[in-house]
Symmetry: C2
Subunit: 198 residues, 2 copies
């Protein structure tokens, strides 16, 4: 096949989606063309619009269509609780999984000096400004549980301590539905240390 022009280009473009290789991209392209042209057209429109219009919230740095995101501009949300996360996806997850009604601050990564990611890249200056001008009563650290994330958490904890802000960290332990047999020893030891009254 010399070139199937547009079809080939469509398959190649679909490969830019994470987790999509050439085989899945083929399946997607043929599916849309043969069974769901409306869906394909709609996806094309929304995708173009999203890439163009979605930017970052000036206050919490999450993805947003407007200067202030829905959460920051919502007066019903509690400004006294500030939840620190690593990515906009984490905001989405927490919003869908919990009843948290406070506000967020998105780091967009974690401290990683070797990759040139320091406090400036994570917006710690903006966060510190917030702590100085409008200090929350509680700072919840909802970062990942890797070594680099823990260093980041520690760093933010120290900044918060400077402003005497109460800082908490989400619990580490056995995942719900998890069996002890399949849990790594570090998590198990952590879960033992953090045991609570029953």
């Amino acid at each position: 096949m010399q070139n199937h022009g547009l079809l080939k280009e469509l398959i190649q473009s679909l490969c830019c989606l994470p987790g999509v290789g050439s085989k899945s991209a083929q399946r997607m392209a043929f599916h849309l063309l043969q069974r769901n042209r409306d869906g394909g057209r709609h996806l094309s429109t929304i995708l173009g619009q999203a890439m163009l219009e979605i930017g970052y919230c000036q206050s919490c740095r999450t993805l947003s269509e407007s200067l202030l995101c829905e959460i920051c501009s919502n007066e019903q949300r509690d400004s006294d609780t500030l939840c620190i996360v690593e990515s906009p996806a984490d905001v989405w997850l927490i919003e869908h999984a919990t009843t948290f009604k406070g506000k967020y601050f998105v780091l967009h990564g974690r401290l990683s000096p070797l990759d040139g990611i320091g406090p400036d890249q994570l917006g710690i200056d903006l966060l510190e400004q917030r702590m100085a001008n409008n200090p929350p009563k509680e700072l919840i650290l909802a970062t990942n549980s890797t070594v680099e994330s823990q260093a980041t958490t520690h760093f933010i904890g120290e900044v918060a301590a400077k402003y005497q802000i109460r800082t908490t960290r989400i619990a580490h332990g056995i995942p719900m539905g998890g069996e002890l047999e399949f849990i790594d020893s570090s998590t198990l030891s952590h879960a033992f240390k953090d045991r609570r009254e029953f």
Copy 2:
């Protein structure tokens, strides 16, 4: 989260892709927005264009941007060999896996009276017209190996017989790299029956 507007809509639209659930759609949306906006924009453009411009070849019924597809309009391809497949995806697969230089005819399905799919829906009239006016020397049946496909194959074989056209079927047997231990008995028995001189 009341509504994340465009972001939510993007995630929902991505779910129209086959094999993509809400979790993968989230990952795709965040990936494109945070790491690959150019890719997202390009995908949006190509997708819109493909949904609009790709139709079906008038001669072989495969997906094509023009009235005659690249293969049908290519004079270097051998009109004496006609390969019957069930879907445009099969044309793509055969083009990429084999050195076949003949032409194709796409059925877009298989006979399935219960679903109202008869010879008309499969374009058998068009195929018969081709056999009458410009008969190929060989008709290769490259359909799937399900019961319904075999009924379809049989039907087409009878039409071809009417025009005394030599008809072949692609081989059934052990897949390359397959181990006998894991092959179903029907395939194994077929492979035995169809054994060839070594």
